[in-house]
């Protein structure tokens, strides 16, 4: 896929499903887990709730199906739904669904390290963080980047000096959280806060998630024809 910075794409993005965020709607996120989750999933959900302001945790009941939770989330006016997937006591994926009829993305989660285990980590505060999105160049990258953008409140609180970074490199998205301090006009000091993890996009569906939905982009191993070809 290719780089682009042209009018047709801008117009298309101007009224796609994520446009309501850009016209002022504050994000309201609900985080939940897969069924029968264990303590690891709940700890990660705590971390996610701390990263995104306006996020809440909701416990996944044993009989709550995907369609029902999407419906309930839309009913309660949430803008995003994040589902943390766990398999045999290890976290493995996040499904991010933008509501009410936005795109759904499934990311593979790896290398999760909670804040406590990072040496020299700092303490988080409740200020709205700033957001950095790096290297989301292709059209698919634009869509995913906008989905992440729609998770954060539009106006950051600069006095908090916190920043959340989504850095895309070779189709892996690195999520980090830092506190910065300007020592003088040229030097910045960074202290890592909170959790760090890596995401890799597996598929993107248009519309909210449905087992029979149409996939706008799906990763298949046969696509990996060359080591230099990336999609995001």
């Amino acid at each position: 896929m290719i780089d682009d910075d042209d009018g047709e794409v801008a117009q298309d993005e101007a009224d796609d499903e994520l446009a309501s965020y850009f016209s002022g709607r504050t994000p309201k996120i609900v985080v939940t887990t897969s069924k029968k989750a264990s303590q690891i999933a709940y700890d990660f959900c705590d971390d996610l709730v701390s990263i995104f302001p306006n996020a809440q945790f909701a416990k996944r009941g044993p009989k709550h199906e995907m369609k029902q939770i999407i419906k309930q989330a839309v009913k309660h006016d949430f803008t995003d739904l994040m589902i943390v997937n766990e398999d045999r006591k290890a976290l493995n994926a996040i499904t991010l669904i933008h509501l009410p009829d936005g795109p759904s993305a499934y990311f593979k989660l790896s290398n999760y390290i909670p804040g406590k285990r990072i040496p020299g980590h700092g303490r988080t505060t409740a200020h709205n963080p700033e957001l950095i999105l790096n290297n989301f160049n292709t059209r698919l990258g634009h869509t995913v980047g906008r989905m992440f953008q729609a998770l954060m409140p539009q106006v950051p609180e600069f006095e908090g000096r916190q920043v959340v970074t989504f850095h895309n490199q070779r189709d892996f998205i690195f999520v980090r959280r830092h506190r910065y301090v300007f020592k003088d006009t040229e030097k910045v000091g960074l202290q890592e806060l909170g959790p760090k993890f890596t995401l890799k996009l597996r598929w993107l569906q248009k519309g909210t998630y449905s087992r029979d939905g149409e996939y706008e982009w799906i990763f298949k191993p046969e696509m990996e024809t060359s080591r230099k070809r990336f999609f995001l």
Binding site: I2, Q11, D212, E216, W217, I218, K220
Partner: protein, 408 residues
């Protein structure tokens, strides 16, 4: 070959690919190429021509595309999300005619579009069928409505297809709405008894499955397979491909299970015994209807394929010469914003062309008769060169005797 695509933002794009120039294979070692020479070569090579018609407006998203004739000339017929049906000129994209179908709104979109010389035939999900006489168009009226002849074709229709050789015969299918074949001539009659006869064929559901439960019905696409309109193939949401023989029995003659994902579209392949299906997970493959086997997967797709066009289209009369002349191609358009052309002549099914078209496309049409405009200047040069070579004297064999003398 010219390709017309329609996308969900309402743009109609026309793409023409230049014929590929075959370079002779270099057997010698790689020679360092003159960089300037290469750049010049690239400029002189013919590039793809892309024309864009229309403005971006999500409410005018293209839902269906088909070929139509107006005044003897072929036009593109576009059915849009807002209910507008437009006849566009192929070269300029100018709107020659516009109709409006009032039955199309948020809940009810177009499921079938067909244009013959006399009629424009459309159908919506709510079951409103319109056969509009093309001659009754009023150019001064800004709102030319389509004439609805029936509104009871059933709720939740997903596909309506008109038989290519018999425009009065059409079939419909949808969610919990099994295959039905109608005769439009009888539908247009006034009397109720004659209207009831319009339903020529109604399919019966297959037998209950092994748990004695009713098998669900959800038809996504269907096609007519023979000239009389008695052989029909359908593709369902539950990944089944079924063939019906209307003269023989109401239940399907064959029922094949294909893949694991809902089938989205169905298209006739190289001949009427092969159909190409697409599903939600970027699979495009061929089903052999005689045996029920799935094969010939077309690779390279990263998103689900929304529409496919096979050229040449097999016709009911045996056009053997025609078929041998044109190479078979599969043109496809998908949600990952790419237009791809696969070649169908060899077993490798390679991608011939691939173009990024920036929008999620929903429909594709191919004009096989279009030929890439040849560079006239270059042709003249070639002619002159040939003439020059012909005019020069050929070096005769008499030189051999001279060289022999020298050696001696």
């Amino acid at each position: 070959m010219r390709i017309i695509t329609g996308d969900e933002t309402g743009l109609v794009k026309s793409v023409v690919f230049p014929p590929k120039v075959e370079e002779p294979k270099r057997r010698s070692k790689k020679v360092k190429q003159d960089q300037e020479g290469e750049d010049e070569k690239k400029k002189n090579e013919p590039t793809m021509i892309l024309n864009k018609f229309g403005v971006i407006d999500k409410n005018e998203g293209v839902q269906k595309l088909c070929w139509g004739e107006l005044n003897g000339k072929r036009h593109i017929v576009v059915a849009r999300k807002s209910g507008k049906i437009q006849y566009l000129d192929v070269e300029t994209g100018h709107i020659e005619r516009e109709y409006r179908d009032e039955n199309v709104n948020k809940e009810s979109h177009f499921v079938g579009l067909h244009a013959t010389e006399k009629y424009l035939i459309t159908c919506t999900t709510s079951g409103h069928l319109s056969y509009t006489l093309l001659s009754s168009y009023n150019p001064k009226d800004t709102n030319n409505k389509t004439t609805c002849i029936s509104s009871t074709l059933g709720p939740d229709l997903y596909v309506m297809r008109v038989h290519p050789a018999r425009p009065h015969l059409f079939a419909t299918g949808g969610k919990e709405n099994d295959l039905k074949v109608y005769d439009a001539n009888l539908l247009m009659k006034e009397k109720e008894e004659e209207k009831k006869k319009a339903l020529v064929f109604q399919a019966k559901n297959v037998k209950n499955d092994m748990l004695d439960l009713r098998v669900k019905v959800w038809i996504h696409d269907l096609h007519f397979l023979n000239e009389e309109g008695t052989r029909i193939v359908t593709a369902t949401h539950y990944h089944q491909v079924r063939v019906y023989e209307t003269k023989k029995q109401r239940r399907p003659v064959s029922d094949f299970d294909v893949g694991k994902n809902p089938l989205l579209t169905l298209h006739i392949g190289v001949d009427f015994d092969h159909v190409i299906y697409t599903d939600t997970m970027s699979t495009v493959a061929t089903v052999d209807l005689r045996r029920g086997t799935v094969g010939s997967h077309y690779k390279g797709f990263t998103g689900s394929v929304s529409d496919v066009f096979v050229t040449p289209q097999p016709s009911f009369n045996d056009d053997d010469d025609n078929k041998k002349m044109t190479k078979p191609f599969l043109t496809s358009v998908s949600l990952d914003r790419f237009l791809r052309v696969h070649e169908m002549s060899t077993q490798f099914r390679r991608i011939e062309q691939k173009v990024y078209l920036k929008q999620r496309m929903t429909a594709v049409l191919v004009d096989e008769t279009f030929e890439f405009p040849k560079d006239e200047g270059k042709e003249q040069e070639d002619q002159e060169e040939n003439e020059m070579w012909d005019a020069m004297e050929t070096v005769a064999d008499s030189d051999k005797s001279k060289s022999k003398r020298k050696r001696a």
